[in-house]
């Protein structure tokens, strides 16, 4: 049963990995994204600052992340790292403009 559980979990993981790899990556690295307007640029700068001050204490920005993934990532880290609502909004804007 243990082996079966491990095998099933492995298959699930591989399936998820393959599906992710099969999808074209529509977003670039957060650092390479270009904001649409000066207002967006300011928000992205503020988001980058907040990312560095909070998230950057433990890790770098992910290589590539889509807006839909970013929401889950930032929501997860809001709880884990005690971020404010403003931090969540600005960092989300920085990761997925």
């Amino acid at each position: 049963m243990k082996i079966l559980a491990l095998v099933l979990f492995g298959i699930l993981l591989i399936a998820c990995s393959l599906s992710a790899l099969a999808e074209p990556q529509s977003s670039s690295a957060p650092k390479q994204s270009k904001p649409a307007s000066p207002g967006d640029a300011m928000q992205a700068d503020d988001g980058e600052r907040r990312f560095k001050e909070n998230c950057g204490r433990c890790h770098n920005p992910p290589d590539s992340i889509s807006p839909r993934e970013a929401k889950a990532v930032v929501r997860h880290m809001r709880v884990r790292a005690s971020l404010t609502a403003e931090d969540e909004k600005k960092i989300l804007k920085f990761l997925a403009p």
Partner: protein, 340 residues
């Protein structure tokens, strides 16, 4: 093992129910292989740590983390054939209601918020492969708690924030879901512009003769240089001690654009002073000093190699501690189409 697997599947199914909304669940975590030699005894530990996070609406989050871990060592310590055991645990499986910046209500199984090592430094964030000696203080029986927690940012200013966490846990001896009956909390002061945080923790363990644990922590990442300082102190009737770690990346900033900038040198010093032995505490029964030196190297695609050497001094005998660890950090959308 079976319960952990069923729980993980259950969380995936719950997340699947949310598929179709704009918020796609993510499957994250790490795949690692660790080798160690402590006092001549070698062991190998393959490990898979999947994390799932599924936000829904503006206020809710379901998240969970499991650990599938192997432990392969010689049957008689230094002689005999290698044999392996496999373990599965559920670190957390929680529902979070984020009321506002000041309050998040968590229910379920969560990481016990005592100091910060337990919550913030999973294997893909920790600078050294070995946990500190005092790690078990305030986090027993399993590092996780089953119950409820309130947490958030009590006060947020531009130059400082005050964070808190308070929880209660019920006792559980269920396989893979062990927890102690306890209550406690943590308060932290963070100065974002200086990259400095300091905090304190308290826990009242409400079983095995009720006892208190307390502690303090600091982290410092000065913005000007890629230095990472972390440290904790913890006290319990079974002993007290501290660890202090410094890590420096060979880079003018925190980017990883060159080979050298992908290298990080780490040093850690720790001391433990024994108290009244208590089997629940999972602490040494002798005084221990340990000094570690390590190197981290980040390959592209979120792969990190870590190697370290430590020297442990105790009345039970001195020992060399060698570790190496290869960690692959992954992040995928849990369902097809999520990367769009």
């Amino acid at each position: 093992m079976n319960r952990a697997f069923v729980l993980m599947l259950g969380m995936l199914c719950a997340a699947a129910g949310l598929y179709g909304q704009a918020d796609v669940p993510i499957l994250s975590g790490a795949l690692a292989f660790k080798g160690s030699n402590t006092g001549g005894v070698s062991a190998f530990q393959p490990e898979l740590v999947p994390v799932i996070a599924a936000p829904f609406g503006q206020h809710w989050l379901i998240e969970g983390r499991g650990e599938l871990q192997g432990f392969i060592a010689r049957q008689d310590g230094t002689t005999g054939p290698y044999s392996g055991q496999f373990f599965a645990t559920f670190d957390y499986a929680q529902v979070d209601y984020i009321a506002n910046s000041h309050l998040t209500i968590t229910a379920g199984r969560f990481l016990t918020p005592f100091n910060v090592y337990n919550e913030r430094y999973p294997l893909w964030v920790a600078n050294l492969a070995d946990s500190p000696i005092i790690y078990t203080i305030g986090t027993r029986t399993s590092g996780s708690s089953n119950g409820g927690m309130l947490r958030g940012v009590a006060v947020a200013r531009e130059k400082w924030t005050l964070t808190y966490a308070a929880y209660f846990s019920a006792a559980s001896t269920t396989e893979n879901l062990q927890a102690g009956r306890s209550a406690g909390g943590r308060v932290g002061l963070f100065l974002p512009q200086a990259g400095f945080e300091i905090g304190t923790s308290y826990q009242r363990f409400l079983q095995n003769g009720d006892f208190n644990s307390s502690g303090g922590y600091l982290t410092w990442q000065p913005p000007q240089i890629p230095l990472d300082v972390r440290g904790e102190y913890a006290h319990s009737p079974a002993g007290h001690g501290y660890w202090l770690e410094g890590a420096y990346r060979l880079s003018p900033n925190r980017d990883m654009n060159t080979i050298l900038s992908r290298v990080q040198a780490v040093a850690r010093v720790q001391q433990f002073f024994k108290g009244t032995p208590n089997p629940v505490a999972q602490l040494p029964t002798v005084n221990v000093n340990q000094y570690d030196l390590g190197l981290n190297y980040w390959f592209p695609h979120n792969i990190r190699l870590n190697g370290s050497y430590g020297r442990q001094f105790s009345s039970a005998g001195n020992a060399n501690v060698w570790n190496f660890e290869l960690v692959y950090r992954f992040l995928f959308p849990a369902w097809p189409g999520g990367s769009k």
